[in-house]
């Protein structure tokens, strides 16, 4: 009984980490001539996916309760549109808009969470309605693409390079290329760390795991299941809003078709990162690795240059499918043991 065995959950995470390493190493070998080996390539994956990292952190919390939130992609689009239109057409300053977006995120989460936790409606239906609502609202706010150019604070934030003291290299012209990060990456990493600590060390965090483990037991053990669920959905929408701001700092624009399929990326990142669809197992660092895998896939597809971009969607879907089936098989094995 005492000897340590690898249980199926850590096995899932292990597979993910190995997959990432193999994939990245493979990329380095195949595309070394195209600069895949540079540190900046890796940092770019982080920069491009900073928003997704925030979104996936929130998604992980919701999925740990055994739920799902597919409204996140549309919410990001709506956030971007509010920022863009707010700055360019209403003439608001960006800090005010950012606060507004966070408040909208909380309210959005409250409505969804209430329907799910207190009215017992399937999370998927509620958040799907939320998804279409947010997407439609994006079009209601503005139907055209709006680029952000006029707000100084915002453009400065977006342009800010945080240079790293190591890992530089000389390019062909002999100029030193210093690897850098963007502010969004810092935000995203802080989010990941905070969510990790929250999940591990707070009553709320542990309640989330308990609910995912066995909702009935959680109730019998005296936890407030409904309130915890509500909070989880609020947290998801709130983090999505932070992610939305990060996303916008990357794209510097609002369009109606922005961030389509982002929910898919967030869900697959969580699942690939070892979060069980049935809830209760997983952690936010796994999801971070999941995001990195997704990022690596699209980076590889882009570096290849000949493949069209929908390949990255397809590969992600195949991976998701693989991990879902893996989970289902593991669950079956576990059941049969009992």
């Amino acid at each position: 009984m005492k000897k340590t065995k690898i249980n199926s959950n850590s096995l899932l995470l292990l597979i993910t980490v190995v997959l990432f390493v193999v994939m990245y190493a493979g990329g380095c070998i195949i595309y070394s001539s195209k600069g895949f080996t540079h540190l900046q390539t890796f940092l770019n994956i982080l920069i491009n996916n900073a928003g997704l990292i925030c979104v996936a952190s929130g998604m992980t919390c919701v999925m740990l309760t055994g739920g799902i939130d597919i409204s996140v992609g549309s919410l990001v689009a709506m956030d971007c549109m509010i920022l863009a239109v707010g700055i360019e057409q209403w003439g608001w300053s960006s800090p005010v808009l950012m606060v507004l977006i966070l408040v909208i995120g909380v309210v959005f989460g409250l409505v969804q969470g209430f329907c799910i936790a207190y009215l017992d409606i399937q999370p998927f239906i509620v958040t799907m309605a939320g998804m279409f609502f947010a997407r439609g609202m994006t079009a209601v706010i503005c139907r055209n693409q709006v680029s952000i150019v006029s707000d100084k604070i915002f453009t400065t934030l977006a342009g800010l390079k945080i240079e790293l003291p190591f890992g530089g290299y000389m390019n062909k012209k002999g100029i030193l290329q210093v690897p850098y990060l963007r502010i969004t990456v810092i935000v995203a990493l802080i989010v990941v760390i905070l969510v990790y600590l929250m999940l591990k060390y707070t009553k709320f965090g542990r309640s989330i795991y308990a609910i995912g483990g066995n909702q009935q037991s959680a109730t019998l053990m005296g936890l407030n299941v409904k309130k915890t669920k509500l909070k989880a959905y609020v947290l998801s929408s709130f983090l999505t809003s932070i992610g939305g701001i990060c996303y916008c700092l990357n794209t510097m624009a609002g369009t109606t078709q922005q961030a389509t399929g982002l929910e898919m990326n967030a869900i697959s990142s969580s699942v690939i990162g070892g979060t069980l669809l049935t809830g209760g197992v997983g952690n936010v660092f796994g999801s971070l690795v999941g995001v990195l895998i997704n990022g690596t896939i699209s980076s590889l597809v882009k570096t290849n240059g000949k493949l069209i971009s929908s390949w990255s969607n397809i590969i992600t879907a195949i991976l998701l499918c693989f991990f879902i089936i893996l989970q289902s098989v593991f669950a079956k094995i576990k059941d049969s043991k009992k």
Partner: protein
Amino acid sequence: MEAGVVLKMQGICMTFPGVKALDHACLTLKKGEIRALMGENGAGKSTLIKCLTGVNKFEAGEIYLEGFNGPIVNKDTMDAQNKGIATVYQEVNLCPNLSVAENLYIGREPLTKIGTVNRKAMNRQAEELMKELELDIDVTRNLEDYSLALQQMIAIARAVDMDSKVLILDEPTSSLDDREVEKLFTMMRRLKAKGVGIIFVTHFLEQVYAVCDGITVLRNGQLVGEYNIEELPRVKLVAAMMGKDFDDLASIKQEGSGDKRKEPLVIEAKGLGHAGTIRPFDLDIHKGEVIGLTGLLGSGRSELARVIYGADRAQTGTLKVKGKEVKIKNPIDAMNLGMGLLPDDRKAEGIIGDLSVRENIILALQAKAGILKRIPMAKQIEIADKYIEMLQIKTASRETLIKQLSGGNQQKVILARWLATDPEFLILDEPTRGIDIGTKTEIQKLVLKLAAEGKSLIFISSEIEEMLRTCNRMAVLRDGAKVGEIEEADMNQMSVMKAIAGGDSNE
């Protein structure tokens, strides 16, 4: 309240729609006593427990608890827990994905100054608790890493650490093996020494005599009696649980219904078994024979029938139907061989609640016909009306939803479903549970009629008289294995009860 008594329940009454679940039931529990609560299915054990823990609302009666002046009423399980009544269920109600320490303390974790969970303190406290209960468990590991028995004990530890006066163990041993059960008993005795009163619900007789001080027996929602363990040897206990009172319809079976052994074999099972539910068994059934399966709840009587029918797939052994060896993977295979099964859990496995009486009746016939051959509406109506008339099913119309019918009538509809397929071999698992006396007799008569028509039947019931009245032969089951058969000539109350009780019956 008398000295030394920690819990007293008096005159508890409770009705479910159409059924009197508890009729002035009583229970007294002393400090530092382990009391078995016994009774067959539908006796009202779990209902009584639920009344105590606040899950069910009882209509009359009082509950007295040590430390409270007047009668108490618990609003819900939390309320009961706060008053010192803790319950551990058959299924472990903990979270498998959390660590042992967390399972012990979640909802009341020790906190740090900044309000986060103090994991160190929690683990330390948990370790101390484990040491106190002499359990060798690493509290930082996940609960799912431990065996069910240990999980069960952790659940008990959680309950006990909440300063409970009364601990209810609701069939905690059904999924444990002998060694694990022994561990559990050690723990129970230790708690008893500490002065905790324990109510132990189980259907394993051995265990009752191994660990309990007293026995409270319920039957049909009423108190049969409260006994000290010495006063009540096994056979008397079985008698108390099953009841001996014959109702007025004494004998409906024709004497000397003849030896059916000369008739051709319909079912020959050799070494049939399913891991975890029923150990390999042999069983022969002849044409026109009614075989009774007897044994206490959980003895494997339902499971045996389910393996033959393919509701649980047989993992070992061979089955011959009318001399031909067959492989049954799914119920439909069994049906095509002329079998039918009326399951014991009517609600979960019998009725299709939102479909009408007509649809429920033709269901099995339709399944046999296949998806492409829809039974014409006129035929459906004809069949439905025929059985509503024949079985006197009380329903507003044939299009009434089955869930709106009473339990007895629902049962008749399921019976009609199988009769409509004209089966050669029919398994009736507790067909008379929870239905009124009149309907019971009707069903018993129907069983005999079917047998006279040359159909073979398996009849399972918790009531011995019922089986004595209908069966040609009985197979006895105990603890998941078939342990013997009783011939018609030897069948009487005493012999059956002795067989069920097993062991040294003079104990």
